[in-house]
């Protein structure tokens, strides 16, 4: 990393840095977080951005600090976070697009849950809403694509999938990803020290639960 010359774009109070891969993004996030120069550090899918106070530093000064932090020391990656298991109910009432997604994948709808549970996924980033997670699967798979018409309301906990990429909705919100299940877990709890259940870089696997288990799952806010 010593001669790493990152491609950057500098706005007046934030810098977007293009990144070669997920490992570098995570390592950069660790390096940026270790100092107190940045008011925001935001990983993207192939970039990371830092925001700063323009009274404290000029864009040029900020860019110099970015270069130093990315290149000065070898970027250390975080130890892989512990695998998180997400219980999912694939019941059709909670999975309105199960048939659609299965047909795009070329499998039967009742085979989709076991397909979905068969490989570990990685949290690429959080965004869109607090705690909303974008997941990436290492396994190539056919493109499913977004719904032609986005839904006005997708329930919190819904699992959306567009192919190799999937997501977990953290709040009731509009949304355009085909929905193949729902988790009873709360993705964002502001009362907790770490409000977001998932974080970038985390490994995730899904585990099927019944409708009864879904309905009786202990909710954090009712404990």
């Amino acid at each position: 990393m010593a001669d790493y010359d990152p491609e950057m774009h500098i706005c007046d109070d934030w810098i977007s840095i293009t990144m070669p891969d997920r490992e570098t993004i995570l390592a950069a996030q660790v390096a940026f977080t270790a100092c107190n120069h940045w008011t925001e550090i935001v990983p993207g899918l192939n970039s990371i951005a830092v925001q700063f106070d323009p009274v404290e530093m000029s864009p040029d000064e900020a860019a110099t600090i970015v270069r130093d932090q990315l290149g000065g020391a070898a970027l250390a990656s975080e130890p892989s976070p512990i695998m998180t298991t997400i219980p999912v109910c694939y019941h059709k009432e909670l999975a309105p697009d199960l048939d659609y997604a299965a047909s795009k994948l070329g499998i039967k709808a009742d085979a989709l849950p076991s397909w979905h549970q068969s490989h570990t996924q990685t949290v690429a980033m959080l965004g869109f809403m607090p705690g909303f997670a974008y997941l990436e699967s290492p396994e190539p798979c056919p493109t499913i694509g977004r719904l032609a018409k986005p839904r006005q309301l997708v329930k919190a906990g819904s699992i959306g999938i567009i192919g190799q990429q999937s997501c977990v909705y953290s709040f009731d919100s509009p949304g355009g990803w085909p929905i193949i299940g729902r988790t009873p877990l709360r993705l964002f709890d502001p009362e907790k020290a770490e409000p977001a259940l998932l974080s970038a870089g985390q490994a995730v696997r899904f585990e099927s639960i019944s409708r009864e288990e879904f309905e009786s799952w202990p909710r954090a806010d009712e404990e």
């Binding site: 934030w14 925001e40 935001v42 000029s58 809403m129 607090p130 009362e191």
Partner: protein
């Protein structure tokens, strides 16, 4: 001690300083859409610039406080009335218990801030207390105020009493016509060469569905030769995205943290508070500047404001 909402209007929320340092977990800034008007209002009741105040959008709102208190109104409201009598903006005002406070519709401009001497009770999370509407977090139960809501206020005797009037030179002129300065965004040049120059040549009107999250910029669509999608990347309040329609989209205070459309421009920090005054039908002209010049402009603005407001931060 409390303030009762007699008429909530179109969208009235508790807003102060934005949430900071949590965009990596998807938590947007929220906070006052017009940070400068908020700061000016808070100062008139002796509070720091980022304290929670009541943000009123477009329509008339009416309040009643059950204890004598000091208030101040700064923003786009056509009038401020106590028991039907006109009162000045930009000045410490005094309410007796049971007085009715009318804050008029926005003409021109979009938002008005009501600061109150007592501390306004608001839900706290992640070090902030502003309202983030889309997820129902912070503020008054995470939502806009409704008629007959009662907001708790702490005892005002703890707040120092002040009598202040904003100097005329620091008063914003509320308008439906704005010039906003922008720097290039990460996708301005590659693959969208020339698009920023095009955008700065054309006037835009704010679309009908403008809100705290963002607003469409209506005008001649910008030509997009490239597929207008990219891997999701960070966006901020003031980022201008270019969706496939070619109609630019300006993000506001409640902007999501990441987006998948090209980021073709960024409204400079010094001008970002004006986004809070853009409503449907407002007109905007963009002017290109550099990041270095934008920093100078921001520092000039802060040094103009700080002799009056003290420690001040705009967002």
């Amino acid at each position: 001690m409390s303030i009762r909402v007699l008429k909530a209007g179109l969208q009235t929320t508790l807003q102060g300083a934005p949430f900071s340092g949590h965009r990596h977990i998807g938590m947007p800034a929220a906070g006052a859409a017009d940070s400068l008007s908020l700061a000016l209002a808070n100062y008139l009741v002796g509070k720091p610039c980022g304290e929670i105040a009541i943000e009123i959008t477009l329509a008339e709102a009416i309040f009643e406080i059950d204890q004598p208190s000091s208030i101040a109104v700064v923003g786009a409201a056509l009038y401020v009335r106590i028991n039907g009598e006109d009162q000045p903006h930009h000045q410490t005002l005094h309410l007796k218990a049971g007085d009715k406070l009318h804050i008029g519709p926005s003409r021109p401009g979009c938002r008005t801030y009501l600061a109150i001497s007592g501390e306004i009770h608001a839900d706290r999370l992640l070090g902030g207390r502003s309202t983030y509407l889309a997820a129902g977090l912070g503020g008054f139960h995470g939502r806009a105020l409704k008629d007959q809501d009662v907001i708790a206020l702490s005892d005002i005797s703890s707040t120092k009493k002040v009598e202040r009037t904003t100097p005329p030179t620091l008063r914003l002129r509320y308008s439906d016509d704005h010039v906003l300065r922008v720097t290039a965004g990460p996708e301005t040049d590659e693959p969208h060469n020339g698009i920023l120059a095009d955008m700065c040549l054309r006037p835009y009107a704010i679309g009908a569905r403008a809100n705290r999250m963002g607003m469409a910029l209506e005008g001649v669509p910008l030509h997009t030769s490239e597929a207008s999608n990219m891997p999701s990347a960070a966006v901020f309040p003031g980022t201008i995205q270019l969706p496939p329609s070619g109609e630019p989209y300006l993000l506001g205070a409640d902007a999501q943290t990441t987006g998948g459309y090209p980021r073709i421009a960024q409204v400079i920090r010094a001008d970002r508070h004006l986004i809070g005054q853009l409503g449907s039908g407002s007109r905007v002209q963009f002017v290109h500047t550099t990041a270095e010049r934008a920093t100078e402009i921001y520092r000039e603005k802060i040094s103009l404001l700080s002799p009056w407001l003290g420690q001040i931060n705009l967002w």
